[in-house]
């Protein structure tokens, strides 16, 4: 995971988010279910997002395309958690 930038896959709802999470698991692409940072929450996005590593973005896009998975956006955001004080993986 990049020290400075986090990449979040955003969704319209949990059903879409959990569906993609399962697909990523099947393709062995690491992802963590995370609350969507408030700054990324437009009116149309959901409270859960998938936190992925930058080096996996292309693999994630390929997985999405292959399965026609529904998602709202992939957004980048500077890490919100001080990693010297909190465990964050």
């Amino acid at each position: 995971m990049s020290e400075d930038i986090n990449y979040y896959i955003l969704f319209d709802n949990y059903t879409h988010g959990l569906a993609l999470y399962k697909l990523l698991q099947l393709d062995s692409i690491p992802a963590r279910i995370s609350p969507t940072p408030h700054i990324l929450q437009e009116k149309v996005s959901c409270g859960m997002s998938l936190l992925i590593m930058p080096e996996d973005i292309e693999a994630v896009r390929a997985c999405i395309a292959e399965h026609g998975a529904a998602y709202h956006d992939i957004a980048a955001l500077p890490c919100q958690i001080k990693t010297d004080r909190f465990r964050f993986c």
Binding site: F11, D12, N13, Y14, T15, H16, L18, A19, K22, I33, S34, P35, Q41, E42, K43, V44, S45, C46, G47, M48, A70
Partner: protein, 379 residues
């Protein structure tokens, strides 16, 4: 007790269903509300139930399968959400009040006009006559898959083809057939399928759903919290969120999910074969009793596993009371929330005594029930 009121709700559930609910009770947070571990436990369980339901009914996508509290809830969403001012609807005399009352209300409030396919004295209906009822304003055909009074079943593939040919929505009430009959939304051209989880699917009460063949212009019956898009002043338009405001019954859905696993393990065809066998055994035992009147079409190849009858001139409630008190047998008397079919059968005043069978009933129970009917008939 011998429980033969499975058309109302199945009393006996698979043990794995009971275990799944018990486990969920102390391990589930609120589905779609947050990302901590117990919220996700609930969310994944609901998601898995959704995937299984979509597969079970061949609904094109899991997200098109929204959960409700029961079939009535689902039918209200469908009927209120899809029908507009001045629409015309074709339905049948077979319908339960879960279809009839929402339709009657829209008839009064939105000037929706209604036509009902008539049933004869055996409860038979000519579905091929649907085109004769179609007007330029006809929007939908709404019918139950199986009558909860006669057990007569509709040929959904044939009706779906008629609806498709005429550009009509096809809305199906599968309350009595889900968990017994094969239902394939895509093959049968079903646009909206409404079902309950606590009858043939052997799940808990408080579960059910509405499955859409594609995203339709459907107005949600109610709005509220969804755990997503919280700044949006409108109900989110994506399925299933559009139709699922408020906390879901994730504990119940965990049970329904386990019941679907049970059905898959046993095989729907094996469940159907056993239930048919139990119903036919019962019929064989009682049909020749002189004072027993049996209702329904028994020449049809497809029937739901239930038999309604009357004994001599006993009111149906009295017969059911005798069965309960003297024989400890649970059945359902009365009108079964289906007034139109009882009018067709000539039992609107008296009702009928309904015996309905489940996979978890036994031949011995059926034989005892049949013997009880014979004894009451001969008394």
């Amino acid at each position: 007790m011998i429980y033969l009121d499975n058309a109302a709700t199945t009393l006996h559930k698979p043990s794995q269903t009971v275990r799944a609910i018990a486990e969920a009770l102390n391990t589930f947070g609120n589905s779609s509300r947050g990302t901590h571990s117990v919220s996700l436990s609930a969310a994944f369980s609901v998601y898995e139930a959704r995937v299984k339901i979509a597969e079970f009914f061949n609904c094109p996508k899991p997200e098109y399968a929204a959960f409700t509290l029961n079939a009535t809830h689902a039918l209200n969403i469908a009927i209120n959400g899809l029908l507009k001012e001045g629409d015309h609807v074709i339905s049948t005399d077979w319908e339960h009040n879960s279809v009839l009352r929402p339709l009657y209300r829209l008839e009064a409030e939105r000037q929706v006009s209604l036509s009902f396919l008539k049933a004869d004295s055996k409860g038979r209906t000519d579905f091929l006559s649907i085109p004769e009822y179609i007007t330029p304003k006809t929007r939908a055909v709404i019918c139950t898959h199986a009558s909860n009074v006669t057990g007569n079943m509709a040929d959904l593939e044939m009706i779906g083809e008629i609806a498709r040919r005429h550009g009509l929505l096809f809305i199906v009430d599968a309350s009595q057939s889900a968990g017994f009959a094969d239902i394939d939304m895509q093959k049968m051209n079903i646009d909206v399928l409404c079902y309950t989880g606590h009858k043939g699917l052997m799940g808990p009460q408080g579960t059910g759903g509405i499955c859409l063949r594609e995203p339709l212009d459907i107005r949600p019956f109610y709005c509220g919290g969804t755990g997503v898009q919280s700044h949006n002043q409108r109900q989110p338009e994506q399925l299933p969120t559009l139709l699922e405001a408020g906390t879901l019954n994730s504990h119940g859905l965990a049970g329904l999910s386990a019941s679907l696993d049970f059905i898959k393990e046993i095989g729907l065809e094996n469940i159907r074969a056993k239930e048919k066998q139990l119903a036919e055994l019962f019929l064989k035992q009682v049909k020749d009793c002189e004072s027993v009147t049996i209702y329904g079409d028994f020449e049809s190849a497809q029937r739901a596993p239930l038999i309604s009858l009357n004994i001599g001139d006993l009111p149906s409630g009295t017969a059911a009371d005798i069965l309960a008190l003297q024989y400890d047998i649970a059945v359902r008397p009365g009108i079964h929330c289906a007034p139109r079919i009882h009018e067709a059968l000539g039992t609107a005043e008296r009702g009928a005594v309904r015996f309905s069978f489940s996979y978890l009933n036994t031949e011995a129970e059926v034989m005892q029930a049949a013997q009880a009917v014979k004894e009451i008939a001969e008394a």
